[in-house]
Symmetry: C2
Subunit: 426 residues, 2 copies
């Protein structure tokens, strides 16, 4: 495969003609492929159908009082125990909530804005300006929470070990308006990286100018490895305690991509002080999660071994899709000098970087040929990728053959756009 950056105009024109022909051929097929979001596919959802048979009319008794009635703001005991194992915290430091960790995160930020966090000098909303570090590319819904509450976002670069810690440490040490940081520490959205032990230790130990600095640790893909030997993530709560900042992190997780997306269970773990405060605040906004659905999950999965066995079945479905992405990208783009991409060992995404200033155009071209991608820019705060390079690939939902076709189209669009730029610059 020829490196396009070294090709002359004749070669470029020739290649462009071939690519345009391929593009037109794809386009004429009237495809409708959706790679916009990290949605489980029906075969993955089928794996959890037994959940629906787990709590029938005569079987609603759990360990607690009456799972059909009020009570249990922080979740039923057996669910708190299971999610404690899942999130790496003792049962007493776990809240099992409703169906989405997003709701728990939004609630924690809301509480901090309105009332402050334990150790805060004031509610964050009373300070003139507050900022969050946002490792980018990152997860758009984290950024939306910041936008909702008027929190300024400071992008921080990511590498294969996580956020660039020199940059992070420098910013938090010097700026007291920096109150928080979003992290998807395992199989990060969208790069798929797993934070290294060193990154976790440094995050936990670093000196912050704000005494009430918080890390929102969204462990969304805790058990979502694609291979037999899943990656290991260091325990942030333990690291923070060791680092002398026991209240620094809130850990979030859910079964949205384990059982049903929307019909799952979400949970949060943190220090005793943080959990006590969160429960006190939550009492004004919720009656607690759906305890019967919590019971279904405990019955269906039983324990961490049950969850892990279940997730191996997910991996068997997802692996060929991720392999298809890698195959096509390698075949089409390797050695062309126009794109780089990640090779995640888990999670839901592949992050593709195209030449500067090209991402929007690639996404648009792909859309015109029937492939819907996550909007370019969505992986950056305020939807603005400053270099317009990043495209998030979400291969979980379509069938393998469709993933392959979609990726071919993405690769063709990437090459077309790159060649056009070079020709225009010549």
């Amino acid at each position: 495969m020829r490196d396009l950056s070294k090709a002359d105009a004749n070669v470029l024109h020739e290649q462009r003609a071939q690519l345009a022909a391929r593009y037109d051929a794809f386009r004429s097929r009237g495809l409708k492929l959706d790679m916009t979001r990290g949605k489980p596919c029906p075969e993955q959802l089928d794996l959890a159908l037994g959940l629906l048979d787990c709590v029938r009319s005569g079987e609603w008794h759990g360990e607690g009082d009456d799972e059909r009635n009020y009570g249990g703001l922080d979740g039923i005991p057996e669910a708190r125990r299971l999610f404690g194992e899942y999130l790496g915290a003792p049962q007493a430091q776990v809240v099992v909530g409703g169906n989405a960790s997003l709701e728990l995160m939004h609630g924690i930020v809301r509480d901090a804005i309105v009332h402050g966090v334990p150790g805060a000098v004031a509610p964050w909303g009373r300070l003139g300006r507050i900022r969050f570090l946002c490792p980018s590319p990152g997860y758009d819904r984290h950024f939306f929470i910041c936008e909702y509450f008027g929190i300024e976002m400071v992008p921080v670069a990511m590498d294969e070990h996580g956020p660039c810690m020199d940059e992070v440490e420098h910013i938090v040490a010097g700026d007291e308006t920096v109150k928080g940081m979003w992290c998807v520490p395992k199989y990060s959205n969208p790069t798929g990286c797993v934070y290294s032990d060193e990154v976790v230790e440094r995050l936990a130990a670093m000196r912050t100018r704000a005494p009430d600095f918080r890390i929102l640790w969204d462990d969304a893909y805790a058990v979502h490895g694609l291979h037999d030997r899943p990656d290991r993530l260091a325990n942030i709560l333990d690291a923070c305690a060791r680092g002398g900042h026991p209240d620094r992190a809130y850990v979030f997780g859910s079964t949205s991509k384990v059982s049903f997306a929307g019909g799952g269970v979400a949970a949060m773990a943190a220090s005793p002080a943080n959990i006590a405060e969160a429960s006190r605040r939550r009492n004004t906004s919720t009656i607690g999660g759906d305890k019967i659905n919590q019971l279904r999950h405990v019955r269906f999965f039983r324990d961490m071994a049950g969850i892990e066995a279940h997730m191996r079945k997910h991996a068997a479905i997802l692996r060929p899709k991720f392999e298809a992405v890698q195959d096509v990208l390698a075949r089409e783009l390797d050695g062309r000098g126009i794109a780089t991409w990640t090779r995640p060992r888990g999670g839901y995404f592949v992050s593709l970087d195209v030449p500067e200033g090209c991402a929007r155009e690639v996404v648009q071209l792909a859309a015109d040929a029937g492939v819907k991608l996550t909007p370019a820019g969505a992986t950056w705060p305020c939807g603005k990728d400053p270099r317009d390079t990043n495209i998030r690939i979400a291969p979980s939902f379509p069938a393998v053959a469709d993933v392959r076709t979609a990726m071919e189209i993405v690769a063709v669009c990437t090459q077309l756009t790159a060649i056009d730029r070079r020709l225009a610059a010549a």
Copy 2:
């Protein structure tokens, strides 16, 4: 029965001795009766057990796309239709949420504080001071939401037709900081009154100084009549539209006291502008409710006729408990000149007013004899009943015999306290 207010000291002493003997007898029984909250009893919850068998593993297909996956922020179509009927609004003006209307209410107030409501000059949080009218006695969780967000509460008197409208109209016309009002319009918590058509019309039509004034219409007991001919509540959304204030009201409801408390489904209805804004904001805090549980509810209840038939079975269980409260209060306190109470035709509560300055003591005395009541003051903003008279009676959970015993104890405590006050004043 002798009117205590006219009795002389000898009679009072004699009666006190008899009451004290009864009190000691109760106390020696070591009772443990809980009348603190409006909790359904197990027999009511049993009525909905079929819900757990409604969506088994092969039966999860509804009208929508895939109820097991992401999507459906505002609820599945069939649930929106059913709750539209329930709340009195077209399907398009209905959001079906998670398991609690409390969450929907908290979210609406949060949105208003952070971003304002449609028609607002500014986010409410940016104004120095804002206030809500709180018909009192009222529902403590409404008051908690105000406390959470730092909203000042202005108590407004209630009578058997609802809030005193002369007072309400006077305040909202003159004070632009009054931005909202809490209402439990049907079988009000705790008085049990149903807002009259005139009250609804006046609320909808009244001139408010704040252009973005909102009514939070918590129709928690919409189908919770105790008798064959349930009471009718005027449709607030229609009234507001007619009154020229289409965006004035948000209507809330849930099946917490229809199916399972905590495992139910909540919904909200409002004008198209309010619903569009709410959905846009909700997108940052939730992935939508549990669609499978929504499907369960639609399958189990089918339609409003199904809900009404179900609620007649609830009424059959609750009616004897409410009758027991009335029987005992009438026998013990009628004509004694020391207490008044409501005779609700639905809902979950009876409101008891004891002599001024006595409610706390009555609740404490009852607790000492093994009857836990809602803390005195809880029915008023900030937990402060200015005259210390109101006690909320919640007879739904205990068995009929226990309700009777608990009410005898409450009545004895009320008389003891009243006599002691008179003797002390003499």
